[in-house]
Structures are given as structure tokens and as C-alpha cells.
Symmetry: C2
Subunit: 196 residues, 2 copies
Amino acid sequence: MTIDQSRAEATRARLLEAAVQAFAERGFHGTSTRDIAAAAGMSPAAVYVHYRSKEQLLDQISRRGHELTLQLVRDAVAAEISPTEQLAAAVRSFAAHHARGHTTARVVNYELAALSPEHAEEIRALRREISAEMRSLVERGVADGSFDCPSPRIAATALLSLGIDIARWYREDRTWSPEDLGDAYAGVALRIVGAR
Amino acid sequence: MTIDQSRAEATRARLLEAAVQAFAERGFHGTSTRDIAAAAGMSPAAVYVHYRSKEQLLDQISRRGHELTLQLVRDAVAAEISPTEQLAAAVRSFAAHHARGHTTARVVNYELAALSPEHAEEIRALRREISAEMRSLVERGVADGSFDCPSPRIAATALLSLGIDIARWYREDRTWSPEDLGDAYAGVALRIVGAR
């Protein structure tokens, strides 16, 4: 990477961070490109050198957030042997990630309706992959006798809900660290699927 | 109630409904009083006859939503004898309510940061009451041996999260009716608390 390229990278990162803060505070529709530019210490015109629109910033934030979450779940499945260990690892990591990055996770999960139809469809495809990973993990556990649960689909929905909703309520001043919460929710997850 | 009073009531209800739709679609900060007036077929000036501000509309929506949810939980506790039946009834009713009224519930749960400090504090007090009801229900179950769970506080947090997050993902075209979802989540809740 040349110096110019790495400067451009740093500027884009600063803009994404400013956009996350602004969207989390005032929502996508309550934020102007001018607000984001000001928060990043730039002119609105300078923003357009890096991003075509406010919507493209939201798309980048959403895409990275969803790709990272999908990767977390896949890494947990790859790192462990039994469905019980895989589920505990996936939920622990999912929950801790949503606590640690709760501001970004709020934008990633609650501003999807503001995406363009094309971007919304791509993000929905990523969400379907995350759901499918979680559901197939629960189904594998039921199939090999590790789990006992009446509806893997309901269980997977509940597990994802628990993780995502952390973004809504978690704040740094809470009793639990992201890691404590991850451990506790791994236990809750094993109960939901009826781990033996 | 006189005819004038009941007309004013009907107008206020229409404004609240228009505000719910607008806030759910574009967020509080992305919605103007003019948008709400237009959706209710009124002039902006006519809105101010009934509500002092856009924030007062949000406060009314939040307050009613939280009071209703608190009542649902208290009704379930009052209607049933054992902690197991109380918890199943509370979660069933909470989940079905959040599915049925998912648009309102999104505004009620995701726009709290836009309330004035005074209103926000009052709504937080209602939320603390809802949490306390749920936690004390779990604690009663643990105390009388109906439930077996390592942390009633984590369990109560998870139970509320499951119900609230329904507002984010539920749409009418889903496989589950609000009642099916309520039944399924009552089962999930009993697993989370380790009901015997």
C-alpha cells in the first residue's frame, strides 16, 4: 500500500466510525451527510470522495457487521468437536461480540430498513446464512442425541434473538463484562436446546 | 363524555397511530411534526392543539406500551397459582403481544433515547418494574423448588430479551401466528429457568 492509499484507508475508517456514532444516536434518517462529515472533521464534499452516499456508509457498516458475525459462528463450529461445545462457543462469542460492540451492533441490526433494495437483499442473504448456520448446528445436535428440543427452528430463533438484543440493552456500566455475559448466555443456550 | 370530548379522543388516537407509523419507518429524528400531521390528515397547527410536541407523542406511545406490558406480566402472575404456570402465562402473553403489535413495540423499545430526560426517567422506572416482576417470578420459582437456575437475574434478562426482540424480527408473513410463537416461547422460558 502506498502512503496515499493508507491515508485514504484511515479516512474511510474515520468516516465509518463517525457514521456509526451518528446513526446510533439519531438514526439513519435523522442524520445528514453533513453531520457525519463534521464528526469526522471533514467537509461534506470530502466525504463524497470516499463514499457515494450516506446509504453506502450504512451498507458498509451493515455488511462488515454481518460478515463478522457469520465468521464468528463458523469459527466456533470449526474450532470445536461436539455440537454442545460448538453451540457454547458460538453463543459465547456472539454474545460477547454484541456486548463489546453494542453501538455498532445497534446500527447493524436496527437500521436495515434504510438500505437500498439491492443492498437490503444482500444483507438479508447474509442474515439467512447466519440463521442457517445456527439452525443446522442445533439440528446436528438433535440428530446425534446431544440436544433434545421440540423445534430447532424456534431454538435457533431464540438463540439469535438473545445475542442481537444485547446490542439494545448493554452498556459498559452493567454488572457483567462482555465475557461474563458470553459465559452466562452459553449456559442459557445449552438449556434452550436441551443439551444432555 | 360529550361529543366534543369523544371527537378529541378520536383525533388523539389518530395522531398516535400516525406517529407510530412514522417513527417506525423513519425513526423519531427522521420524522417531522409535519409528516405526522399529513399522515393523520391534519395541519401541523392542529397537531399542537392535542400534543405540545413530537416528543410528547413519543412519550405517550412509550408510556402506554410499557404500562400495558407491565400489566400483562402482573395479570399472568395474578391469574395462575404456581411459578411454572405464572411464567408460562407471562411469557406467552408478552411474546404474543410483541408479535401482534410489533410496529408499536419497535417504537416503544428502540426510540427511548429520543425522550426528554424527565420522560426517559419515568419510562426507565416502568422498565425497572417490568424487570423486577420477571426477576421476582423467577426467584419465587427457585425458592419453592419449581425452577433450578444458576442466575435468576440472567434468566430474567434473557426472558425479557426474547420477548422484546420479537418486535425487531416479527412480520405477519412469518410461519408462526402470535399465539403459536407465544406457546413456543413459553416452552423456551421453562427451559431457561430449569422448570422441573
